[in-house]
């Protein structure tokens, strides 16, 4: 039996899944229901400075029949009175002692206001505090949210103020709207924070209405950038998670990281764990389908861990992090080629057109008699399913010309039809770093590069 419980910087939770600080955790009623559904914790929607909200807060990007591949929002922090939020936080925590209740906060950048809000949160009995340095819209115009997160010095300063009075774990939430997320993460370490969480939402404009030419969503004739989240941002979040985890200062500090950004199912969750997150936050998927999704998040993760022989969450955390590296460390002699399983191939020719138009022209259409044929080579008088199916050529990779770019693998709609087969290149493993260290001229001079390729037997078509 897998143990999904976590102890994140001292915050205990029966499973690693927390509601992210967002509309789903806006009230006691909602968090109560989420806990009933099985969520391990909730980061309360940010409380702090007074705000007013607008209508048409959420925009969404739908793609290929899939609704809400991403969402963006211009909703601000909680617009419910501070006292109401604090009272409900206290009630929820009292009702759910085994769950993690973390309170997100954002106030004006003054030590006294931060001291005040931290003390008031601690009074509720909450398990932890998350500092919202991430909101990219609205609050940032008032010098809060990402306006703090984008300046490592501000992050450090405010975190220091918080740590002066904090008695419970403090998580610094980072904005991805920055050229190097490692810098504010280091600031959090320097200020003595208990943990970091990432990513907050990305700046985005979701679209323009082609009927009215208004910005989507339209807010009284105007629109603007809002925080972008959902499945589409997951790869960005994973990269930032790995970047922070690999950093000698942040990773070296062993500071726990709460991961979020597009987690939709347990497979996403497992990937965040493998890249170093030790608690997981979810928002968009909940906004799409409701609290009930936590059941499969736990069930799927648990089954996968069982199959893989992981007994506890800490056994999974960071297991793939050492594999993340820079291009200069990749083995230039590693060779993979595409191979198409003719039994599984449905002959949609998507690999063919992708390879021929946009990659390396190494997939051929082969007729029944073995000859290479051109597409659209049937007679205009031909028709009928029998003729179309019987005469349809097969797609075959010319392996000697395949560079292993993996585009065909990615476009193939059939599971396990195209496989990337590892083939010995016949060359000893080497990296760009090794070449530039030992034969710098090869990396700087095309003539030397040609000679190197000739010597190594590297032929590029």
């Amino acid at each position: 039996m897998v143990d999904l419980s976590i102890n994140f910087a001292g915050i205990r939770s029966p499973n690693p899944f927390w509601l992210a600080s967002a509309p789903p955790s806006n009230s006691g009623l909602q968090v109560h229901r989420a806990f009933e559904a099985g969520w391990g914790g909730a980061v309360w929607k940010t409380i702090g400075a007074p705000v007013l909200n607008v209508s048409n807060r959420y925009g969404a990007w739908h793609f290929g029949g899939q609704k809400m591949l991403a969402i963006n929002n211009v909703e601000l922090i909680s617009d419910r009175p501070l006292e109401v939020n604090l009272r409900e936080i206290r009630e929820v925590k009292r009702a759910w002692p085994d769950r993690a209740v973390i309170v997100s906060a954002m106030v004006e950048s003054k030590p006294e206001t931060w001291h005040d809000i931290i003390r008031r949160i601690q009074d509720t009995g909450a398990d932890g505090i998350e500092l919202n340095y991430g909101c990219p819209h609205g609050m940032s115009e008032r010098g809060m949210g990402s306006a703090v997160g984008q300046v490592p010095e501000y992050c450090e300063q405010i975190t220091r103020w918080v740590m002066e009075v904090a008695k419970i774990p403090v998580i610094v939430k980072l904005t991805p709207n920055i050229s190097d997320i490692v810098m504010p993460a280091r600031a959090a370490v320097a200020a003595g924070a208990s943990a970091i969480s990432l990513i907050n939402t990305l700046n985005s404009i979701i679209g323009v209405d082609l009927d009215t030419l208004e910005i989507t969503p339209n807010i009284g004739g105007k629109g603007g950038h809002g925080g972008y989240a959902g499945p589409a941002v997951k790869p960005i979040a994973l990269n930032m998670l790995a970047a922070v985890g690999r950093d000698p200062v942040v990773g070296g500090s062993k500071m726990p990281i709460s991961g979020m950004g597009g987690i939709s199912d347990w497979r996403d969750a497992a990937q965040f764990l493998l890249l170093g997150a030790s608690s997981l936050q979810v928002c968009t998927a909940v906004m799409h389908y409701g609290f009930r999704i936590v059941e499969d998040l736990c069930d799927g993760l648990s089954n996968w861990m069982d199959e893989k022989g992981f007994a506890r969450i800490p056994d999974v955390v960071g297991q793939s992090l050492h594999r993340v590296s820079d291009f200069s460390n990749f083995d230039l002699s590693f060779r993979a080629i595409a191979r198409i399983d003719q039994k599984k191939c449905i002959r949609c020719n998507l690999c063919y057109v992708a390879c021929n138009d946009t990659a390396h022209q190494c997939i051929d259409l082969i007729a029944k008699d073995g000859t290479v044929v051109r597409p659209y080579s049937y007679d205009v008088r031909a028709s009928g399913k029998e003729d179309a199916i019987r005469t349809r050529p097969s797609v075959q990779v010319r392996e000697e010309d395949c560079v292993g770019c993996r585009l065909c693998y990615n476009v193939c709609p059939v599971e396990e039809c195209i496989q990337m087969i590892e083939e010995p290149s016949g060359r000893p493993p080497t990296t760009w770093r090794e070449i530039s260290d030992s034969q710098r001229e090869v990396t700087e001079n095309w003539e030397k590069m040609k000679q190197y390729r000739a010597k190594m037997g590297i032929h590029i078509h």
Binding site: G64, G65, Q66, I346, R347, C348, N349, L350, Y352, V353, L365, P375, Y376, Y378, V380, R381, A382, S383, G384, K385, D387, A388, I389, T391, R392, P413
Partner: protein, 441 residues
């Protein structure tokens, strides 16, 4: 124009069977299309509509472009979306068919065409007038397609139709639950906007002759279809209703169509199935299809056969009608013989042999025959070479008479006759005629 009574057809169970896709349904179905390259559906379509292209245009909400894509390959896209045996053509070739469900290509095509007919059809760039004149005989799918393609190339086209309405079998012969008559007539109207002169109630051989056409036109295209339903040659045959007439009345004059209580339909092709459907849906308590061969040899498409079984129609195989019994002009029964299958006949199917003494009476009060149509009568009238009774044409669709081309059911000596094949004939013949007219300066 003939008065069309719609009200009954709208309410009597012969209104269009499949509902149109909603925008949401169409969007989801279109998104499912893989967009195959050199797609097999396009290959399988006799008119080679670029199907992934029109489907992706539905996905991108470019319905005008979608409709244009269809019409560029097939001017009768609205009819074909409804009547094509898609299971045998595009959908049958869909790569998703093996493991999943093929894309509903026919219904997506209808979605795009419905949009175009409701919201405005794409305008076609017509070539500069060539001054050449072409006569097209017969305003069915082949004739309409050929006329439209020639008009687009700048030729002056006169389309002669012997009946009251243009559209051929789409207007008269396709059961309303598959294609409402309005769809066929809207297509005719769309084509006439390309500048085609349509002259109805003008029959070749009666109102004018081939020499008249040669005198006035630079080329002729014959799309005359087939003749009347074949004669069975059995006593009492005059009591048997003609299947095509039966369908026609159900579309144009359903009020006056008399439906029996117990109906026998002779034949097991697609027209026979349509007749049985009409009888069943318009009130017959029992409908029996009578076919002298077995289930295996029937010419109806498999999906049509499945359909008629679900309609509750009884099928009697290996049963040959031999005599109609009537009293005072009222049908009482159809006398039949049991058959057994013997050696292969000219059609490559086992020939049915009568079982001596197996006569029995099928008590019915109405009999409809749909046993195939006679070969085109015009072939011999115009002294054209024939192939199995059909007008013989070259690869370029030219008949044995120079400058006279033909296409559609009247040339279908090989393969199954269908609307979409006729459309392609018309299109290819138009190309040949165009080349001839341009070459001859």
């Amino acid at each position: 124009m003939a008065e069309i009574s719609h009200d009954l057809a709208d309410t009597n169970g012969l209104s269009e069977l499949l509902p149109p896709l909603t925008g949401n349904e169409a969007g989801l179905e279109a998104a499912r299309c893989l967009m195959c390259y050199d797609a097999p559906c396009t290959h399988a379509c006799p008119t080679h509509i670029d199907i992934p292209k029109f489907i992706k245009k539905i996905s991108s909400h470019n319905l005008r472009g979608s409709a244009r894509t269809i019409l560029e390959s097939n001017l009768l896209g609205a009819t074909c979306a409804r009547v094509c045996p898609v299971q045998e053509l595009c959908e049958g070739a869909c790569v998703l068919g093996a493991d999943h469900k093929p894309i509903a290509i026919g219904r997506l095509q209808r979605y795009a065409m419905d949009f175009a007919y409701a919201q405005g059809l794409p305008s076609f760039q017509l070539a500069k007038a060539t001054g050449k004149k072409v006569a097209v005989i017969g305003a069915g799918p082949a004739g309409l397609s050929c006329s439209g393609e020639l008009a687009k190339r700048g030729h002056s086209v006169t389309l002669f139709e012997k009946r009251d309405l243009a559209g051929g079998l789409s207007t008269y012969g396709i059961i309303g639950l598959r294609e409402p008559i309005d769809v066929a007539l809207a297509e005719v109207a769309m084509l006439s906007k390309l500048g085609i002169k349509i002259e109805t109630r003008k029959e070749l051989g009666t109102d004018f002759n081939l020499p008249d056409l040669h005198a006035k036109f630079d080329a002729v295209f014959l799309s005359v279809g087939l003749g009347a339903t074949t004669t069975l040659g059995i006593p009492g045959e005059e009591q048997i209703l003609d299947g095509l007439g039966y369908i026609e009345e159900s579309k144009l004059d359903a009020h006056n169509l008399v439906i029996g209580g117990n109906v026998a339909v002779i034949g097991a092709g697609n027209t026979a199935i349509d007749c049985a459907t009409i009888a069943k849906r318009l009130g017959a308590s029992q409908v029996t299809m009578v076919y002298r061969r077995s289930e295996k040899e029937m010419t109806a498409y498999a999906h049509e056969y499945d359909f008629i079984k679900r309609e509750g129609v009884r099928l009697l195989f290996l049963t040959q009608p031999v005599r109609v019994h009537a009293e005072n002009g009222t049908v009482k029964s159809l006398e039949c013989l049991r058959m057994s299958l013997g050696v292969l006949d000219a059609s490559g199917r086992p020939s049915p042999q009568p079982v001596p003494g197996s006569n029995f009476l099928l008590p019915v009060d109405q009999i409809v025959k749909a046993t195939g149509q006679e070969k085109p009568r015009l072939a011999s009238l115009l002294k054209l070479k024939t192939d199995k009774g059909f007008i013989q044409v070259s690869e370029e669709f030219e008949t044995s008479s120079p400058g006279v081309y033909a296409g559609g059911d009247c040339i279908r000596a090989h393969g199954a006759a269908s609307t979409v094949m006729a459309v392609q004939d018309g299109k290819l013949a138009a190309r040949s005629i165009h080349e001839r007219l341009v070459a001859h300066g």
